[in-house]
């Protein structure tokens, strides 16, 4: 493992080449690698084995908490803390509480979806080594990048460089940490 190096990055001009390269890198035994694309590529999830995400479970929990909080608030205020007798009608008039409970459920789930996605992705992140590669600016336009990280046990700067070069990329560059 080399000091001051985050990893090695290969640039591709075609999304198919990137997916093939990612699959080959995993077959070669690399584990700490990531692909960078200008749009979501479903095939990469499979090539990089990205199947599990906790996000849907978090969103479900967020929604349930939101709904319970909304319903609980209405129950507590109208039945316990501030009961108003309107012609002897029941205080616990739960059907009237449904709209607000529903909105609170959506609010809880929606906030969790957004904050959860950002949190699990580690965003906002002001600095990341991949931006040290000048050509990486094209990752948000029309280029595709594969980065093998230096923390990978199999990483060796010369050997990995050779491996990436054999995948016929447009360019291989070193990513400074």
């Amino acid at each position: 493992m080399s000091q001051g190096v985050y990893g090695l990055m290969a640039e591709f001009g075609d999304v198919g080449e990137l997916v093939t390269a990612a699959r080959k890198a995993r077959e070669a035994g690399y584990v700490h690698l990531d692909a960078y694309t200008p749009f979501p590529v479903e095939e990469l999830d499979e090539a990089l084995d990205l199947h599990h995400t906790r996000l849907p479970m978090l969103v479900l929990i967020g929604g349930i908490i939101g709904g319970l909080a909304g319903f609980g608030l209405q129950y507590w205020t109208t039945v316990i803390d501030y009961p108003i007798n309107v012609g002897g009608r029941p205080l616990f008039s739960w059907p009237a509480f449904i709209p607000v409970t529903f909105e609170c459920t959506i609010l809880g789930a929606g906030l969790t979806a957004v904050l959860g996605m950002l949190g699990l992705n580690g965003l906002p992140q002001p600095y990341h080594p991949v931006f040290n590669v000048p050509r990486f600016a094209l990752a948000s336009r029309d280029r595709f990048f594969l980065c093998i990280e230096a923390r990978d046990p199999k990483f060796d700067i010369d050997e990995t460089w050779g491996f990436l070069s054999r995948l016929q990329p447009r360019q291989v560059s070193q990513v400074d940490a």
Binding site: V15, G16, V19, T20, A22, D34, A35, Y36, T37, P38, F39, P40, V41, E43, L44, D45, L48, L50, T53, L55, P56, V59, G70, Q74, T77, T78, D81, Y82, A96, F97, P99, V100, F102, E103, C104, I106, L107, A109, G110, L111, A113, V114, G116, M117, L118, L120, N121, L123, P124, Q125, P126, H128, V130, F136, A137, L138, A139, S140, R141, D142
Partner: protein
């Protein structure tokens, strides 16, 4: 198209080969990126933009004057009084919030239905939603009389020892509209993040790189991030779909829960939701037709989009027409003298001209959309969309004013006449809406760049030896 994943892209294309394409052929990822981002980054701001902003900003200043005068004098400056105490404030609230709904429909429901054509119109339709909801929110707030106490609507522990009345649709409204605004804002912002990263990487100015970089939050297009991003986006779409239906349902409860003839009707929730989508698609067309022309975006917002939107407008217009029919039928079938008196009053009372105008603008004129020739003419579509917008405003006028001005007892009947300040507030909110929209066009990409990339042939994964 609902099971679009199963059909290969080429086949899908041949199935719809008789339709104009969603993106004109010949575009690459670079050209799509450059074309859309250049509107924000490099190209000279068109003169029409300055003229448009100047006009809408002047109207916003009119709003400022109207609001200031309102705060100084009170709601008495409007034509509202007993029996018509709601009038323009609630008409405009419902009109604006309805317009907003098409944005959510395009961004969420059409995403879940895998309608790829939504991609080039969803961004500005979502922006339209936000600005329309912002305009809508002004009205109930200012209608309260003492808007500086608006926070009393929210449940917070206070020294008065009181809580909001959760059995009231007006409190439901507070929750529905504020949730809707917040979730729409998040949905829009999440959709913007990858495009903000594109602008950050392409901006020629230091300020641009800093501001877009700050907003993009360090987005780098990592496959791991995209994986969660797509999941979050899909979940938000799934959450927004029932949300948008619930919001207009709750808005219709403001009326339907009351006992008043003309309001107390079970058809209100579905009829309001359909009307909202109807008005919203009309507004998307009003915006899209000039935009694609002035910014030269005919390659991305094609005749296919306009045709599809025209079809949805026609379909939802038929729902709305059915709603009118059912209201009339129920007035007769219920056998209630108050209901039938209301209908007679609509047809031949003092506001009858408004009701017949509503039928012409909202039911008769949009029937032209049955014809392919009309759907392929941008001028005709624009004019029909304007007609629908006017018609939907008249619909809310009929519902609010005509129902209120004559209720059960003739001794409490009255008339409503809008004052200068009513109109000033209305025009002012239109000005605010367009000012925000012009600023959005100048500073943010009006079409989702990353989603457009996925529609290109180059986005298909062709592996040599899988």
């Amino acid at each position: 198209m609902a099971n679009g994943t199963q059909i290969p892209r080429d086949e899908r294309r041949s199935l719809s080969s008789h339709l104009p394409p969603v993106v004109q052929p010949g575009h690459t990822m670079a050209s799509v990126t450059d074309k859309i981002s250049s509107v924000v980054l490099t190209r000279q701001t068109p003169r029409a933009w300055f003229i448009g902003l100047a006009i809408s900003f002047s109207l916003t200043m009119l709003l400022l004057v109207a609001v200031t005068y309102l705060l100084a004098k009170g709601t008495g400056i409007w034509g509202v009084n007993i029996p018509v105490a709601w009038a323009f404030a609630i008409i405009n609230f419902v009109w604006w919030i309805g317009i907003g709904h098409a944005g959510t429909l395009i961004s969420a429901i059409l995403l879940l239905l895998r309608q790829e054509w939504r991609t080039s119109i969803n961004r500005f339709a979502e922006a339209m939603t936000l600005f329309a909801v912002a305009c809508a929110g002004l009205y109930p707030l200012l209608h309260m009389g003492r808007p500086w106490l608006a926070y009393w609507l929210f449940p917070y522990p206070n020294t008065m020892g009181m809580w909001p009345q959760f059995r009231s649709p007006l409190v439901w409204d507070v929750f529905a509209v504020s949730t809707y605004l917040l979730v729409s804002l998040l949905f829009w912002f999440i959709g913007l993040i990858p495009d903000l990263a594109t602008l950050r990487d392409r901006s020629p100015s230091r300020v641009g790189r800093f501001v877009y970089g700050l907003l993009a939050m360090g987005w780098r297009g990592s496959a791991r991030h995209w994986h969660r991003y797509e999941m979050a986006y899909l979940l938000l779409a799934g959450l927004s779909t029932p949300l948008v239906v619930s919001v207009h349902t709750i808005v219709s409860f403001d009326f339907a829960v009351a006992q008043l003839p003309g309001w107390h009707a079970t058809v209100f929730p579905p009829y309001f939701v359909a009307g909202a989508i109807y008005a919203g698609f009309a507004m998307v067309m009003i915006l899209a037709i000039p935009l694609r022309r002035f910014y030269g975006l005919q390659d991305f917002v094609t005749m296919r989009h306009l045709d599809n939107m025209a079809r949805i407008t026609l379909a939802t217009g038929m729902f709305v027409a059915y709603g009118y029919m059912m209201e009339t039928f129920m007035a007769w079938y219920s056998g209630s003298i108050f209901e039938s008196a209301l209908m007679t009053n609509r047809f031949s009372g003092p506001y009858a001209a408004w009701y017949w105008a509503l039928l012409v603008f909202n039911v008769l004129i949009p029937q032209a959309l049955w014809f392919t020739r009309v759907r392929s003419s941008t001028v005709a579509l624009f004019l029909i969309a304007v007609s629908v917008s006017i018609g939907m405003w008249l619909e809310r006028f009929i519902i609010v004013v005509v129902s209120l001005h004559r209720d059960f007892l003739p001794s409490s009947w009255g008339m409503y006449y809008p004052t200068f300040w009513d109109w000033a507030m209305y025009l002012g909110s239109i000005g605010l809406f367009f000012s925000l929209l012009f600023l959005f066009l100048r500073f943010l990409p009006m079409i989702s760049i990353f989603e457009m990339r996925t529609l290109l042939p180059g986005a298909e994964v062709k592996e040599e030896n899988p």
